[in-house]
Symmetry: C2
Subunit: 331 residues, 2 copies
Amino acid sequence: MARRPTVTSVQIAREAGVAQSTVSRVLNGGSVAPGTRRRVLEVLAKYDFQPSQAARSLVGARSGLIGVVIRDLTNPFYPVMIKAMERVLHGQGLRLTLVTDVLTAEEGLALLRREGVDGVVFTSAVADDPLAHRIVDHGIPLVLCHRTLEGFPADQVEADNVTAGRLAADHVLALGHRRIAMVRGPAGASTAEQRGHGFRQRAEDTRGTVLTEVDGSYDYAVAYAAVRALLSEPSPPTALFCQNDVMAYAALNAAAACGVAVPRELSVVGCDDVPLSAWERIDLTTVRQPLARIAEVGVELLLGRLAEPDAPYRHELLPVEFVERSTTAPA
Amino acid sequence: MARRPTVTSVQIAREAGVAQSTVSRVLNGGSVAPGTRRRVLEVLAKYDFQPSQAARSLVGARSGLIGVVIRDLTNPFYPVMIKAMERVLHGQGLRLTLVTDVLTAEEGLALLRREGVDGVVFTSAVADDPLAHRIVDHGIPLVLCHRTLEGFPADQVEADNVTAGRLAADHVLALGHRRIAMVRGPAGASTAEQRGHGFRQRAEDTRGTVLTEVDGSYDYAVAYAAVRALLSEPSPPTALFCQNDVMAYAALNAAAACGVAVPRELSVVGCDDVPLSAWERIDLTTVRQPLARIAEVGVELLLGRLAEPDAPYRHELLPVEFVERSTTAPA
DNA sequence: CTGAAAGCGCTTACAG
DNA sequence: CTGAAAGCGCTTACAG
């Protein structure tokens, strides 16, 4: 069963008439005489040689593997990030290994350790996240990307979510809405807390505002049920701020199911601006987060950390942008 | 830089007072005396030992790594498949490495070879696919999953796409539509060819049917533009069969952009039944494909192949199901 | 610039 | 049941 007719550097060396270490040097850019290099490169090309990653990471200081933790792969948000990360990583000759919610925290940690990842980009952190903490306990370089953790010993990058919440609130309040509901993400997710904080702040500053909060857990089904419940109350809100786009979609659909017209009877604002949100059938008013950029910066921070392990921690804050579409209207 | 305070099996052996090979045996289920095993397990637990995958795959016959080729990660279709595959793989102690369209065929192949994958599940095959062919040329076990290739030397699993096309046609024709357009997937994709074949067959069997075909490449933007063009022709079709759901969404949105009412002026049928399709705002009539099941069977076929390399090739055909929602109406 | 050698952390026969 | 030893395919000092 051992499919092993693979060409090794020893065979390349033999055929090129050099030592195996010389092959290694041309592969890794060591100093080799031009003639020797050419001869080796020829044989390398002849066999389309690919060095074994297993051997490399066993002997080298680096495995060339970066772990990417993305719990909920079904949020349309993440494919965009994965692609952006892959692009940066690939440019550096690095690979990516995904940890989704198919694994528990313990299993995920075990996986990352067995694989010997050089570092981890963590996108799904929540307060007291067992996986994030265990990763740093094991001395594995980590960056918190998209969701952050205050005081956590790691580089971090996130959007300006407080401003996102404020922008959403300003819009809704300016339209005259005062009976408002906020569909929250999970407790412990920094994005949810910051967006909630920004929104609440503005709502409190505006006289006569009644703000109801319900949990949607950044989950379609949870948010859908929560919004249906909200809409069947005696005096339902006239505006909804959903802390992410997926929950806003759930809200739009729940409203449709309840026969509530958007935006005439109900205004809906999301947050993220996933590509879907621009679809005519959705056309969601939302706050744009620079998804791809967040992912790129996350990877870049990690690469910087690997290059300079003792540099002070960095914390990047990326700007957001209000996007008005057709799911909001005057009260 | 070499983060290497990792505990190795040698240290476990020393602390447990046994040979390193004994540690290896308790790890891999070799025969070990109960007392010895207990002692080793204790030390293993004490350090939460994780064996190095690099060393394992270097020395063993298997790397425990399965390559999964998914070109277009942004199709909401694929997260469902990835999760299903991960689940099966994880149950067998195997891991997954993704190859998306960030890499060219050559780069993808190089990656799979360097990583030493035990096998590959290929979901995005097209006729004369360079990557698929090169993978088998290198003797790497391969299964074609979701999209197949006639006569290709590999296990294959797919939905009954010909029937899918027929079901879509039967529905539209029964509603009385005769001026019909089909938005096709890319030439060379078996799903597109089979769905097209089934649909065409029924259309040809029905007197008075005029079938126009346009290319949508299974891509939102391409399909969107194609449908807008279609709808601005002098006598546009009254019904559209989009060979996948993503293109059907594009069609719904293009119709909205053109002020064409669905389903009153235009009926739209998709194919796949991604979760999105059930949303009230979409509510797409479509043909359901057992996404998760296709993915599972794909992985199972590969595992079977690894266990029995010389077994005859299998070809599984999974049933589809028509799902009537609200994007279709009588002509 | 180049080669001989050690060694990364495991699995797998091979003895006993 | 258990240990000593070889070896997987590389990278990395170390000589020359």
